[in-house]
Amino acid sequence: MTEAVSVENLSVVFDEFKALDAVSVDVAKGESFGLVGESGSGKSTLLRAVAGLTAASEGTIRVSGREVRGTRRDKAFYRAVQMVFQDPYGSLHPRQTVDRQLMEPLAIHGIGDGERRILKALDEVGLGSSFRFRYPHQLSGGQRQRIAIARALILEPSILLLDEPTSALDASVQAEVLNLLEEVRRDRGLTFIMVSHDLGVVTHMCERLAVMQNGRVVERLSSADLVAGRIAEEYTRNLMVASKGFRREAVAQSA
Amino acid sequence: MSGRRRARSRKAFVAVLQFLVVVATTYLGLLAVTFFIGRVIPIDPVLAVLGDRAPNHVVERTREAMGLNLPLYQQFFIYCRQAFTGDFGTSVLTTNPVMADIRRVFPATMELATLGTLIGAFIGVPLGVLAAVKRGSIADQVVRVIGLVGYSVPIFWLALLALLVFYARLQWVAYPGRIDIVYEYSFTPVTGFYLLDSAWQGQWDVFRDVFRHIILPASLLGYFSLAYISRMTRSFMLNELQQEYIVAARAKGLSEARIIWTHALRNAAVPLVTVIALSYAGLLEGSVLTETVFAWPGLGLYITNSLQNADMNAVLGGTIIIGSVFIAINLLSDLLYRTLDPRTRAR
């Protein structure tokens, strides 16, 4: 089986700070893979390294079997791999209309038929053509995130990197976006790597997940294992407890 | 632990090295630009040495003696070698070593610029704060217009008018130059900053006279920088006043005055330092026009004069000084920035 994404012993260092420390992750084709962990544990860094937005200092990254190096990627890579970012307010160019932002990838890759594709993409993410000429500041957070997803999908990639795509959104809007993501994955057979700090979201979306702490993967397990409490690591267990809400007794115990 | 310290000292070393490279390249650039200017301006440098009325054979002889017949790269090499040994040669206009000239004219400009900036900052900052706090009010508009006029008016024109009013009509201030002729030989400046020197030596009559001379040009420069400073203060303050920590300060029950002057201004001061430093550097470049009007023997006039006579030694000297000042002020404002803003401080 060729892995869609395979990361081996990946390390990323920022000014002597090890943001990623020998991380290895394999994601099979068509799989949805989750990354959880507290803030600063290196989840985003891992995605950015795969996307070529951050240089790795050690280790190898393979995408669809081909090794990629440094921050250089070829056009084929960009058509195969796209990313959705955490902050819907920061991931859209504030001075460009939705139309232009969707047009841009088509223009870069010399794909014609822009008109139809844009309308289709908007339709797919559940926004009508009335949103086409709006600026980001005229959109709500959920709508922005949909546009970001539409932009990622318009090149018809096979792998989607999702960096906390819903953590800035309301619970109600989050549900809509998660449903949308599930739907496109099902329709297109995409591979997801999804970052979240919310165990609920990850177990909902992913079949397998990795728990990260301090730049390392501390545990890899399937969602089913997690739900069933088949947890090996103390840290994962803490996460699990915390995500169940406030319990006076639990706090009293730990205090 | 020691590895950490070594890493840190290596970082400091790299930073120092980087700074030195920056300084060196800036100097080299200034040198090259000055040299280039000296070659392209259609002024025969020999004329500066000899004056307008020199006969032909003297001109030719001097040209050769000055090495102006050598190939360009050789001239540049000689020029660099000279400059890097710190020898800017003598100014042909004043016949003094350039450094001696600069030691004379630079304090004059610096004293003027410093006083101007002080005036600008001490009036401009409160005005800017006032305008920001009372945004949209009459006070805001008044401050704005005062600032805008200061920014829009040709300074030499204003200088002439001011001279007319305050010197000729009202006789409040003194003119021309830095000091009255009466004190020319009863007062020996040490540092070249006449205000400091006279105060230091306890010659209060001289101090008064010097002050009467400097106050008008300094006020004009001050007005000019006030315009800029008040405007920047206003916009920085507006920015800070919108911040969430201001709300937090209110939530603590602090008084408005404390919120404005301690919390907001303290934060606005961070970028403001750079603004004031740059405006100071701008004034230090020498306001040729003001110096012309007030017959102020300063650096700006010195460089301009030298340039118009193709006295490139003097131009280079002046340029290097200004470059150094620029670098120094940048460095200083960087340091100040760092002390004011804990975020940029290394832990």
Binding site: - | L50, D52, N56, P176, N305
Partner: protein, 516 residues
């Protein structure tokens, strides 16, 4: 208020580059030098065609006209206290010739060279100085030249204490600098004042020389304060911060004249303002064009406005007051005549031409006026403004079309101007003698010869006639349009006495000035 014993002058002296009399050739320096150094002879201010003795008690000219013998007054001292001897005079000549700086030609034109100067200018004894020239020049010419500041007498003993040794080279064959470096800012003279200090573009301070052999100066100190702006000078004068304003423009001069507290002084100076036409330009080389241009200056309007008080219309090259000066102003503003001439030259519709103009007044104003009057005859004049040194560089390289300039006499003798305007022995680009005639590529062999001849005419009256003829020729037919002669003016505080401007820049004496 200025101190009682001090004269404070507001004066634009940014041209000063050295105070060494053997080197200085600038107009402002001339004033300083002439007040601080002594000469053998000085111009007679009562009759400027004559000279009077200064250090020299008397002098004789040998019959062959080649040897001048000067007898010095006795008992004179330099400011330093050293006695003044003929040795000092001889040394002064020697160093001027050997240094060979800008003004040296005034002496070397008499055949002096570095090799023969010690022979040709020497002390016969302590009080006798003998000067030998190479041709029987008009004595007035020789004596006039000796009034130039380059002939100032320096204190040999003092200078020798400050000489710097140098390595001889092709350009400079001597092993010392004759105190040149020191004298640039130093002082070794014997005039009524001593030079205390010169700070470029700031101040020149003169102090009374207590060792002066003549009548001592009335004031203890004279301070020249560098002020460039006329209006600034006027303000300071009105406020009493200066006693004399030296660079007043017409409007300010007029206002000072009207102020009851103030007084004015003026004197015609040996400086003429002219427009010259480069003969390399074919159009400008046509005699008709040259003449047409002479009709296209609005002399009356300019005289009544732009140069009112500071100049007088004057159309020939010798300024008034100089031997042989021609006082005729035949040209008037006449567009019709000019058009006729232009048509004759083949330019009925005019043409376009440029003029380099230094950006100072009054030349800019005159140039602008000329531009407008030329336009009336269809000639389009483009003014190229530039800073002094810049336009001069271009002028010296003969790269101009037209140039508006002024010419101040190098020494108070008609030959100074005649030489420059009418002598052009070699019109090639290399040129041997880069006179104004050469700069404008005006190739005139006969005039050049005539100019030379005038030098050897020992009868003053006849000599004057030759110059008159020369002037007439130039007036009629030359690429020079003379417009006016400068009048130097000064605004004075009312309490000033004895302030007088001389006929030349080296005769603005300040030792007679006193205050009430």
């Amino acid at each position: 208020e200025t101190p009682k014993d001090t004269l404070v002058e507001g004066f634009a002296f940014d041209d000063i580059i050295t105070m060494d009399p053997g080197e200085a050739f600038e107009l402002s320096t001339a004033e300083m030098t002439s007040n601080t150094y002594s000469l053998l002879v000085r111009l007679d201010l009562n009759d400027t065609s004559k000279v009077v003795g200064d250090l020299a008690e008397s002098w004789t000219v040998s019959d062959d006209g080649l040897t001048y013998t000067f007898k010095l007054k006795s008992g004179m001292k330099f400011a330093s206290g050293n006695p003044i001897t003929a040795e000092d005079v001889a040394y002064s000549f020697e160093r001027a010739v050997k240094l060979d700086k800008s003004p040296a030609f005034i002496l070397t034109q008499f055949g002096l060279t570095g090799d023969n100067v010690t022979e040709k200018a020497k002390a016969a004894d302590a009080e006798t100085f003998v000067f030998t020239v190479d041709q029987p020049y008009a004595p007035s010419f020789v004596l006039n030249c000796l009034t130039a500041t380059v002939a100032s007498v320096v204190d040999k003993k003092l200078v020798l204490e400050h000489v710097k040794s140098v390595t001889p080279s092709d350009e400079y064959k001597y092993d010392n600098d004759f105190g040149n470096e020191w004298l640039k800012t130093g002082y070794a003279g014997s005039g009524p004042f001593k030079l205390r200090e010169w700070r470029a573009n700031e101040v020149v301070v003169l102090e009374r020389n207590e060792n002066f052999y003549g009548e001592p100066a009335k004031l203890a100190r004279v301070i020249y304060r560098h002020m460039k702006e006329s209006s600034g000078q006027r303000l300071a004068l009105e406020a009493g911060d200066i006693d004399v304003a030296r660079n007043l423009e017409p409007g300010d001069y007029e206002a000072v004249g009207k102020n009851a507290d103030l007084a004015t002084a003026s004197a015609p100076k040996g400086t003429v303002y002219y427009i010259s036409l480069n003969q390399k330009n074919e159009t400008l080389a046509k005699p008709e064009v040259q003449q047409a241009f002479k009709y296209l200056v609005d002399y009356d309007a300019i005289g009544a406005t732009l140069i009112k008080g500071i100049g007088e219309i004057h159309q020939s090259f010798l300024p008034k007051g100089v031997l042989g000066a021609l006082n005729e102003n035949p040209y008037t503003f006449d567009v019709a005549k000019a058009k006729e001439l232009l048509a004759k030259a083949g330019y009925p519709d005019g043409f376009t031409v440029t003029m380099d103009v230094r950006n100072t007044q009054p030349v800019t104003g005159v140039a602008e006026s000329f531009q407008q009057t030329l336009a009336q005859a269809g000639v389009k004049l483009e003014i190229i403004p530039g800073d002094g040194k810049q336009t001069l560089t271009k002028y010296r390289a003969r790269n101009h079309d037209m140039y508006i300039g002024q010419w101040g006499m190098d020494y108070f003798d008609p030959h100074s101007n005649a030489d420059t305007f009418t002598n052009n022995p070699d019109n090639s680009d290399e040129g041997t003698n880069k006179t104004l005639a050469w700069r404008n590529a005006w190739d005139v062999p006969e005039l050049s010869k005539k100019t030379k001849d005038a030098l050897l005419e020992r009868d003053s009256a006849k000599r004057a006639d030759i110059y008159k003829e020369l002037q007439k020729t130039v007036l009629e037919n030359s690429p020079f349009v003379f417009i006016f002669q400068q009048t130097e003016v000064a605004g004075l505080r009312g309490n000033l006495q004895g302030f007088k401007l001389g006929p030349s820049f080296d005769t603005n004496y300040v030792w007679n000035v006193s205050k009430e």
